[in-house]
Symmetry: C2
Subunit: 371 residues, 2 copies
DNA sequence: ATAGTTGACACAATCGATTGTGTAAAGTAA
DNA sequence: TTACTTTACACAATCGATTGTGTCAACTAT
């Protein structure tokens, strides 16, 4: 390209003032400017002041791209989520952005739309953008994870959250779903319920498998029978919650409580209960999962388990930054499980205290590491 | 820096293979590689094939930062929103990311947390990241917009959405709130309601002012009185909806319908109506605004106005890309207003058809440009 | 066969910031 | 005063890709 004199302001969106401009004005080298701005010891205090002042005067903005290019590390984090809708992912992203921003990072967000191919493209995109690390929640159609090797081979720090790859050689942050199921069921037992049913989700998904496990754990702990006939498997839809309850009410010993693995399902069950003339929670207590916003709108308000979305995002960023800052020094992958929060609402709160108090084995229930 | 030989793989996250590597392997110049990859005419077809093949073999990923640095334009768009929660912003962001990605852009997302100072920092951050354009929804505390001049002075394309700066020298995408209020109220009139109240929002916010305007427009069109005593001003909270309805029901002529400028407010009103023994929609019809997810959970389902969140994001990106691609050629700012969609649900649907059909002046109601 | 074209690629500067090494001036010690 | 440190900067290469201008060869035309 022809040596272009600094005259026309171009159509460039580049900052109007670069380090070279400052250097020219002060008759010093760019080295001095760069080091003065980054508070390098080899620059005298007087010079530092002058540079800082001039930078402020001209509203100098460092060019992150140039810096990243030279240093080989940008201040960008990549996020790959299946989509940005509903209650869960937006909240997690909220947490991620907040934590990242606090650490001086910006985040690039990508949606896989539950499509592996798109997920693959997202990764390429983030690679090209030279992100310093990646946070991923897998798409539903992601069966193998070979495309993530590309990141690993380049030494790009990677943290999975919520929908994760199983194993102890990866960094993950998840909700402790088993604990959620356990807390919820234990609460129902404490309310005096003794015939607790479970509206379960697809068992090939870990979250639902674990919630069911927590349900059984609580039953066993309380000495109640673990009865498979009290478990109905659904896809967590509202109508299936209704249908599920219908099926359960037809049993010889109908349930006096239902722990649903999802709020929509719980809502359906509650509506069905009332259609059948049952009172909630008096005749049948109901608890859901996910803390969907409508749980506070439904009447009665639905007891549910909060998934700590924001904390999950923050924990994921913390972990990612740790890996990034470990800089080469072999970092041994860590798996973090967040403790869910049981939100007791009217749908499960019996007026009278529990007839038969349950043994207080609270502390025992803590699972592995808690973020 | 000491000339470092290509030996140690560094701790760099840089792509393991650069154009220089390809050039070396093929014994050609980087120029040739670059031009072959970008399909420049001065490169022979044979050479192009060889380069493409080698690039594929080595899984070459172009370094966007380097490219952006040289070209002065990145493939990044910046988003600044007050926060990423609730129903609205996540959906808009969803639309933005989808549209941007389709056009080969990645998006960097920033939250202002409703704080001007943070918003200012966000802009600096995006400037440093060398984004090609910015999409903004103003924070609630943003009273003057001087900090946006920094963008304009650098020729950075800018589009406001939803919470916009007023004026015809800026690019904006908003929902036509007046039309939304109009459609909703017209619907209530068509249901046979003649004493329609309005639960209004803070009038210093344009969205609420416009919804109220639409309400009055519909009344006037139907020849109904525009009665200020039928308007209660609130902050759109659930409790205020209840309180507002209580106040209205105490009037000499209580309303037979309520158009609330927000769904939460509508919900509160509906709950209050039932507490007072009124049937919805028979005794009092209710319509809200925003299409919150709980409107489909409440019983009866609440009639509401959809804000076209995703379309708004897409329209904003379209407009932004237009400005970006106009490349210098003076682009005259445009204001886009999206047409809202009335979602009629049980809360306002009277069993009997309208007693007195309303004059069909539908076409007349169309406002300015529709995105 | 000589001049004029065209095709296909190389040179080298450039975007803006970073950083190892060199070096002149100033300061300290002997 | 001579020698040795420090202090405070400057030089210049570098990250990876882009691009205006040369240049050499093969080709066409007269």
């Amino acid at each position: 390209m022809a040596p272009r004199k600094k005259t026309a302001p171009d159509t460039n969106s580049t900052s109007p003032v670069s380090m070279a401009d400052l250097a020219r004005e002060l008759n010093v080298s760019m080295t001095t400017i760069s080091r003065a701005l980054s508070d390098h010891f080899s620059i005298g205090p007087a010079m530092k002041q002058k540079v800082l002042k001039l930078a402020k005067k001209y509203n100098y903005q460092p060019n992150h791209m140039a810096s990243a290019l030279r240093k080989g590390k940008s201040k960008l984090l990549g996020i790959v989520v299946p989509y940005i809708e509903g209650r869960f992912f937006p909240s997690v992203v909220h947490g991620i952005e907040t934590a990242a921003s606090k650490a001086g990072y910006n985040v690039i967000i990508c949606q896989s739309n539950e499509d592996v191919a798109q997920e693959r493209r997202n990764l390429d995109s983030l690679l090209s953008a030279q992100v310093a690390g990646v946070l991923v929640s897998l798409s539903r159609t992601t069966l193998d994870h070979k495309h993530f090797d590309k990141l690993r081979s380049r030494g790009l720090p990677l943290v999975y959250f919520d929908r994760v790859v199983e194993g102890d050689n990866v960094n993950t942050v998840v909700l402790d779903d088993r604990e959620g199921g356990y807390l919820s069921t234990r609460h129902l037992i404490a309310q005096g319920c003794r015939h607790i049913a479970h509206l379960a989700g697809p068992q090939h998904l870990n979250i639902y498998k674990n919630r069911r496990q927590g349900y059984f754990d609580a039953l066993r702990e309380a000495g109640l029978p673990e009865d498979e006939s009290m478990v109905v498997y659904t896809d967590m839809l509202q109508e299936q919650g209704a249908a599920g309850l219908r099926q359960l009410l037809a049993l010889p010993t109908p349930p006096d409580a239902v722990f649903a693995a999802g709020d929509f399902c719980a809502l359906g069950a509650m509506q069905e209960a009332r259609r059948q003339g049952l009172r909630v929670p008096d005749d049948v207590a109901i608890a859901g999962f996910s803390n969907e916003s409508f749980t506070l709108v439904a009447e009665p308000n639905i007891t549910t388990v909060d998934q700590r979305c924001e904390e999950m995002g923050q924990a994921a960023v913390r972990l990612l930054l740790e890996v990034i800052n470990s800089a080469g020094a072999a970092f041994s992958p860590r798996q973090v499980a967040l403790r869910p929060e049981l939100l007791v609402r009217a749908s499960s709160l019996r007026p009278a205290p529990a007839a038969t108090p349950v043994p207080k084995k609270v502390a025992v229930s803590r699972p592995k590491a808690v973020g």
